[in-house]
């Protein structure tokens, strides 16, 4: 991994060392006052862009921003694994792991695209081959860390699993990159020293290419390009620098304080503790450059958008961005993610989380009814039902009282799958997120649930038959409701972490047109979000009028209510509950959400049609 360190420092000799021997506070001062000299490049940004380094490059002294050779302390800091004078200077990060190495086998299975009839890239060529094997063992640390500096091993994946998978997947990456290069050439776009800044115009083909993975070395630029980051930056030139100045002022000020600073500090060392770029060696006095960048980005963001401030999970978003782009870009990408893709999700009240989880639940119910029965909150209906058992709100009460499974899936959205899947999978999702926008997060969530299905089926026979709502906690039931609920959680929590091969998700679900979940598009998600948020608002409004909201819930542990819930009324106010329920029912049940009726989806369309009819009848 030494080469990572060396590469990034030799890449930006003029800027990378800024503030190395300063405390975090001093660093902020130094950087904020550095004016034009401010290092826009993240000091720790691993460099996937470089072609193999020349020996000249590698032997250059590493300079800090003052032009002084970096102290030996610092060299020691970052070379904890290998000394600077060791060999292998000519290998790039990616090469160390065999990614730049030409494929040794003439395989052309197109990355295991199982459904070749659907998405075969007929335009793709055979890759020229040479006999060189991946050089995975060239660097001592490649035994432990992947090409981004993450530890290969996790609780659920052994190093051996990783290496075996990587041997194939790295070849896949090489093939994909080769195809990307051809596409770029055809589109007349320059490769700019393996760091292209412009990408082909949007097309089905490009979408497919993105879904099959953007080359790791191009990711930072590609994300920036597809998310229209430059547009955002051009409109806000100089803002990031100003924010850093403000941060500096606030740090110096004895009267004013930054409310979010403390909570940010607590999370800095808890962001990717398994990634070498974020690790602080015991002998290191100062924070690693990556941690300093992370601090600046997060503090700057909290000043830029006080409505959000700092929300746990943003540390992972910013952290991952910093592995692929410089600080200022990472900052603006964070702005884009939290506003365009995940609106309201990180706000203080987290209402955006609840809305998105409501949307996800609606989508599961619609596209994966076979899964829905496992996660449906099995007691919820009783709280929203009248005594005769009819469900209120068109059966959509789960939008207000979200099923507990959403405690698990909320983090999928908040951190955009960082830490949810092994890193290569997360990156593939990010590729699609920036190209296809937020609906992809829902789509991939559905895909994960789909892949979970066999495990869920193994879990337990459904007690009350398919489609029926088994009553949780029924006395004498074979399995207590908590037990099965926990097992569902454990599967949903653990399963994605084991998904080492991203192509499992993509080839087995995302590229399969026969799965109706692939019909989900941005338009649908936007509409669905509006629907859920308006329903939640109305519900809140009504429950407040009826006085059965938060204020009257002394006894609500016995109800499966969460933050807002008519169910939280005390148990002896059944009449009031009924009345409130009726009013809400009248107001809301006419607004049952209807998924768009696509041309091909006969089955699910009919089923939703029937449902809607039924509901209308009931209401009438």
């Amino acid at each position: 991994m030494m080469d990572v360190e060396r590469s990034r420092h030799s890449m930006h000799p003029g800027s990378s060392g800024s503030g190395l021997r300063h405390s975090p506070r001093e660093t902020a001062v130094l950087i904020a006052t550095a004016g034009n000299g401010y290092p826009k490049k993240s000091p720790s940004m691993p460099n996937f862009h470089e072609k193999p380094f020349t020996s000249t490059n590698a032997s250059e002294p590493i300079l800090n921003s003052n032009g002084l050779p970096v102290s030996s302390e610092y060299v020691a800091d970052n070379s904890g694994v290998q000394s600077l004078t060791d060999g292998d200077a000519s290998l790039s990060v990616i090469e160390m792991y065999g990614d730049e190495v030409e494929s040794r086998r003439p395989e052309n299975e197109d990355g295991g695209n199982l459904e070749g009839d659907e998405d075969a890239d007929s335009d793709e060529l055979e890759l020229p081959t040479s006999g060189m094997p991946p050089t995975g063992s060239a660097m001592p640390n490649s035994d432990y860390f992947d090409r981004y500096g993450f530890k290969k091993q996790s609780n659920l994946i052994t190093e051996q699993d990783y290496d075996e998978w990587w041997e194939n997947y790295s070849q896949y990456c090489i093939r994909r990159k080769h195809k990307w290069k051809i596409l770029m050439e055809k589109s007349g776009l320059p490769m700019d020293n393996d760091s292209p800044n412009r990408f082909p115009s949007r097309s089905e083909k490009l979408k497919r290419y993105v879904r099959k993975g953007i080359p790791a070395e191009w990711r930072g630029n590609a994300w920036w390009y597809f998310a229209r980051g430059q547009e955002k930056l051009n409109k806000n030139k100089g803002i990031y620098d100003k924010l850093l100045l403000k941060m500096d002022d606030l740090l110096k000020s004895k009267t004013k304080s930054m409310p979010d600073l403390d909570i940010i500090e607590r999370d800095l060392n808890r962001t990717f503790p398994d990634n070498i770029h974020f690790q602080k060696e015991t002998f290191q006095i100062d924070d690693p450059p990556m941690i300093k960048s992370l601090r600046r980005v997060l503090v700057a963001f909290s000043l830029y958008n006080p409505k959000i401030g700092y929300c746990q999970s943003m540390n992972f978003l910013a952290g991952l961005l910093l592995l692929f782009m410089d600080e200022e870009r990472a900052f603006w990408m964070l702005v884009i993610i939290t506003s365009r893709y995940l609106p309201g999700v990180h706000n203080i009240n987290l209402e955006g989380v609840n809305v998105d989880q409501g949307v996800l639940m609606l989508c599961i119910k619609e596209y994966l009814p076979e899964i829905w029965q496992y996660i449906m909150p099995q007691t919820s209906s009783k709280h929203f039902s009248l005594n005769n058992g009819t469900s209120l709100l068109g059966g959509n009460d789960f939008l207000y009282k979200l099923p507990p499974i959403t405690l698990c899936t909320a983090s999928w959205f908040m951190s955009c799958f960082v830490g949810v899947l092994p890193i290569e999978g997360t990156l593939r999702i990010w590729d699609c997120l920036f190209y296809e926008e937020s609906h992809f997060l829902f789509k991939i969530s559905l895909a994960i649930f789909k892949l979970c299905e066999p495990e869920l089926i193994k879990l337990k026979p459904l007690r009350n038959g398919i489609g029926k709502n088994p009553i949780r906690g029924q006395r004498g039931s074979q399995m207590s409701n908590g037990e099965s609920e926990m097992e569902v959680f454990q599967i949903v929590q653990t399963f994605p972490k084991q998904l080492i091969n991203p192509n499992e998700l993509f080839d087995r679900v995302i590229f399969k047109r026969r799965f109706s979940l692939n019909k989900l598009d941005q338009d649908e998600v936007d509409r669905c979000r509006k629907y859920v948020s308006s329903q939640r608002l109305k519900y809140k409004h009504y429950s407040e009028i009826m006085g059965t909201g938060h204020r009257n819930n002394n006894n609500n542990s016995n109800n499966n209510s969460n933050d807002i819930g008519i169910a939280s009324s005390s148990s002896n106010s059944a009449d009031g509950e009924k009345m409130a329920g009726d009013i809400i029912n009248d107001a809301l049940s006419s607004e049952v959400y209807g998924f768009k009726k696509g041309l091909g989806g006969v089955h699910w369309n009919n089923s939703i049609k029937a449902k809607v009819k039924q509901m209308r009848k009931k209401k009438g």
Binding site: D267, V353, L407, S480, N481, G482, E483, Q493, N556, S557
Partner: protein
Amino acid sequence: MLQFKLVLLGDSSVGKSSIVHRFVKDSFDEFRESTIGAAFLSQTIKIEDKGSQQEVVIKFEIWDTAGQERYKSLAPMYYRNANAALVVYDVTQQDSLAKAQGWVNELKTKVGEDDLVICLVGNKLDLCTEEGESSSKPKAVESSDAEGYANEQGLLFHEVSAKTGEGVKQVFQSIGEKLYEFKKHELANSKGRQGAGGDTVNVQLQRPSTNDATSCCG
């Protein structure tokens, strides 16, 4: 086997996840990733029935939660139907005790069940006891203060170190015993109502709802 739902609450970075990992996996990481949303784990312990001197197996279904203030809006989902709550503070951070007390209040007003076992736990004891170590920090919360508060509120109280493991087992042991006491009492009161037979009594993880009478068994 008896199963109970246990939820962890407390300020960010007081060591909730570390306590759970010490208990479940007997391991410790100096830096553990911030918990986003919630994590679920389970672990069993054995306790002794004081009357019959028989061993009883208790399974904890543990809900570990994110600590940041704003996650509080999701909290009711965490603690509903909980049998026990572990409210954690950091013995080197006075503020964190105040936050813990806030959680205790919330549990008492929102859950308000007499048989909810709440245990106040002061973590990071190791930071105060490593003599001469540079990492040593002054103890900001006196044991007597926290214990006094816990007694006043009827909470269990422990001081632990997830890092060394000191006191962690005892926390769960004492919670298990207390839960068993309650359960035994409850079972004695409701004999015959429960349909379960055989040698093992399968007790529901979640609290029986007071609404059950009308909606589920009625």
